[in-house]
C-alpha cells in the first residue's frame, strides 16, 4: 500500500532524506522512529502529497505520489505534526468542513461519527480554540479518519495526550491497522513496541535499521542485561556473581544496583538469585534492563560512523 523507492529530498543545500526505500503492506502498522530532524516529517509530507521529492518515487494506495497526487490525497488520512485546526470553528463545524472537502455524503452525520470515535461527541459544539491540547490532538485524528482512508499517516499521534488517552489512541490505531495501512512516527520506543508490526529507524535522513520491534531490540542489544539490588551494603556482590558462569560485564550503576549481562537464551538469573541469597544478602530486586531508544541510536550512529553499519 505504501512503496517508496529511492526517495530523496533536498532543502537547498541540506539533504533531509537520502535514498529511502521501504514498503508497508495492507493491514500493517509501520513505525517510523528517529530523533528530531531525522527526516520523519519530510518523508510523511512527501507521501501525503504536501511536497514533491527531489528524487525517487513512491506509490501510495497504488497511485504515484507525483503524477496522481489527487488520487493519493483522496485515499490518505494525514495527521501532521502541528495539528492543523481552525481555532475559530467548533469541532463539529471543522469536521463537517473536512468531510465536505472530501465529498462525503451526509457530512454532518459522518462528522459526528468520528467525534464519537475519538470520544469527543460531548464537546462537538465547543470552539476548537477552547479545547485542551489532548482534545485538539484527537480532533486532528478525527479529521484524518473522516473519509475512512486506505492509508493513514500519523506524525506523532500521541504527543500531548495524557496516559489514559495515549492508551485509547493506541488501541484506536491498532483497530484501524487491522484492515488498513498505518504509518506513524514516534520518539517513544515503547509506543513502537506496543503498536507497530514493524519499525523503521531513521537517522540523518537514512534508514539505519528495519525489523519487528522485538528482533530489533534483541539484535541491537546482542546480549541481555539485568540489574540486581540488595538491602544494605553491596560490597563483594560483584565478586560473588562474577564467579557464576555466563555472567559478563558486571558494573555498579549510579543508583547502587549491580548490572550484568548474559547471552540471550542462556538465562543465568536463577543462579544469580541463588548465589546472592546463599551469600547472605537480602535480595530486593532482580529485573531485566531494556535498551532505551537513546542507547539504540547511540549504538546505530556509532556503528555508522565506524563504517560497520549493521545490515538487515
Amino acid at each position: 500500500m505504501i512503496r517508496v523507492e529511492g526517495l530523496t529530498k533536498d532543502y537547498g543545500e541540506r539533504r533531509a532524506i537520502s535514498n529511502l526505500n521501504f514498503e508497508a503492506k495492507q493491514g500493517e502498522i509501520v513505525g517510523f522512529l528517529g530523533p528530531n530532524g531525522a527526516g520523519k516529517t519530510t518523508t510523511m509530507r512527501i507521501l501525503t502529497g504536501y511536497m514533491p521529492p527531489t528524487e525517487g518515487t513512491a506509490t501510495v494506495a497504488g497511485y504515484d505520489i507525483l503524477s496522481e497526487s489527487l488520487e493519493v490525497r483522496k485515499r490518505v488520512g494525514y495527521l501532521p505534526e502541528t495539528v492543523p485546526l481552525y481555532t475559530d470553528m467548533t469541532a463539529f463545524e471543522y469536521l463537517k468542513f473536512m468531510a465536505d472537502l472530501r465529498k462525503i455524503p451526509n457530512s454532518a452525520d459522518r462528522a459526528f461519527e468520528v467525534l464519537e470515535m475519538v470520544g469527543l461527541d460531548k464537546r462537538a459544539e465547543s470552539h476548537i480554540g477552547n479545547l485542551s491540547k489532548g482534545m485538539k490532538q484527537r480532533v486532528g485524528l478525527a479529521q484524518a479518519l473522516i473519509h475512512s482512508p486506505e492509508v493513514l499517516i500519523l506524525d506523532e499521534p500521541t504527543i500531548g495526550l495524557d496516559p489514559a488517552q495515549v492508551v485509547e489512541v493506541r488501541n484506536l490505531i491498532r483497530e484501524i491497522g487491522k484492515q488498513r495501512t498505518v504509518m506513524l512516527s514516534t520518539h517513544v520506543l515503547s509506543e513502537a513496541q506496543q503498536v507497530c508490526d514493524r519499525v523503521l529507524i531513521i537517522n540523518k535522513g537514512k534508514i539505519v535499521a528495519e525489523d519487528t520491534p522485538e528482533n530489533l531490540q534483541a539484535r541491537l542489544v546482542g546480549s541481555e542485561r539485568a540489574a540486581l539490588r540488595v538491602r544494605g551494603d553491596a560490597d563483594g556482590l560483584s565478586k560473588l556473581i562474577g564467579k557464576i558462569k555466563g555472567v559478563q560485564n558486571i558494573h555498579t550503576a549510579p543508583d547502587g544496583s549491580v548490572e550484568f549481562q548474559f547471552a540471550p537464551g542462556q538465562d543465568v538469573r536463577p543462579e544469580v538469585a541463588k548465589a546472592v541469597i546463599n551469600g547472605g544478602y537480602e535480595l530486593l530486586e532482580l529485573r531485566p534492563v531494556g535498551m532505551s531508544l537513546e542507547e539504540i541510536f547511540l549504538e546505530l550512529t556509532r556503528e555508522d560512523n565506524t563504517g560497520r553499519r549493521k545490515e538487515k
Binding site: 509530507r45 501525503t48 502529497g49 504536501y50 511536497m51 514533491p52 489527487l70 490525497r73 483522496k74 490518505v76 494525514y78 501532521p80 502541528t82 495539528v83 492543523p84 485546526l85 481552525y86 481555532t87 475559530d88 468542513f97 473536512m98 465536505d100 472537502l101 472530501r102 465529498k103 479529521q143
Partner: protein, 252 residues
Amino acid sequence: MRNIWVIARREYNHFFASPIAYVVSFVILLTLGIIFGLTILIYSQNSLNGGFGGPPPAPDISGITGTYVFLLVLTVPALTMRLVADETRMGTMELLLTAPVRDWELVVGKWLGSFLFMLTLIAVTLIYPLVLNSLETPGIDQSQMMTAYLGMILATAAFLAVGVGVSSLFSNQFAAFFVTLAVFVILWWLVGFPAQYVQSGGDIFTYLSMQDHFSNSLNTGVINLSDIVYFLSLIALGLFTGSAAVEARRWS
C-alpha cells in the same frame, strides 16, 4: 467545482465571525452614509433655490459609488491579508494541500468567499440609490446606476483577486497587508501619472489606471468593452498569481 464552493462557504462564514470584516463594513457604510446625507442636503438646497431657472438637476449617485470604490483601496487589503497567509502561519495549509483539492481551487474558493461577502455589503448599499430614487420624479438616472453598480462589482472582484494573489505570496499577514495596499495605490493613482509627462505611449499608463476604467467610465454611465476586459484581466492575474504562489510553496 464543489471544492471551490466548500472553501468559499467557510470563508464567507468566517467573515461574519471576524472583527476586521465588521470594521470594514462599518467604515464603508458610515462613509457612504455621510456622502448620502450630503447628496440629499445639496439636492434639497438646489430645490429651494430653484436652481438656475429650470428644474434642479437630479441627485447623482456617482458620489456614493465612486466613494465606495475609493474606499476599497484602503479596506480590501485588511480583508484579504489573512486569506492565504494565515493558513500558512497556522499550519492549516498542510491540511488543505494534502486534501484532494487543486491549488487553484483553493485560491479561487478563497476569492469567491470574500467576493460573496463584499456582494452582501454592496447589496446593503443599494438602499442609498433606492431612497434617492423615491425622493423625486422621474427618479435618478437608472442606467447610470446600473453601470456604476456593475463597475463596483467588477472593481471589488478585481481588488479582491489581487489581494488574494498577494496574500498567497506571504506567510505574514501584515506583510501581505502593506504590499496589497501599495499595489492598490499604484493601480488607483500612481500608474496614471506618467501619462501626462511622456510624449508618446502615455495611453498604456492611462489604460493601466483603474480610475480611468471606473471613475471616468462605468461610474458615468458608459460601458466600454475595454473596461470589462481590464477588470476581468486583473481578476485572472490575481487568481493566477495566487495559484502559482501556492504551487511554488510546495516546491520550495
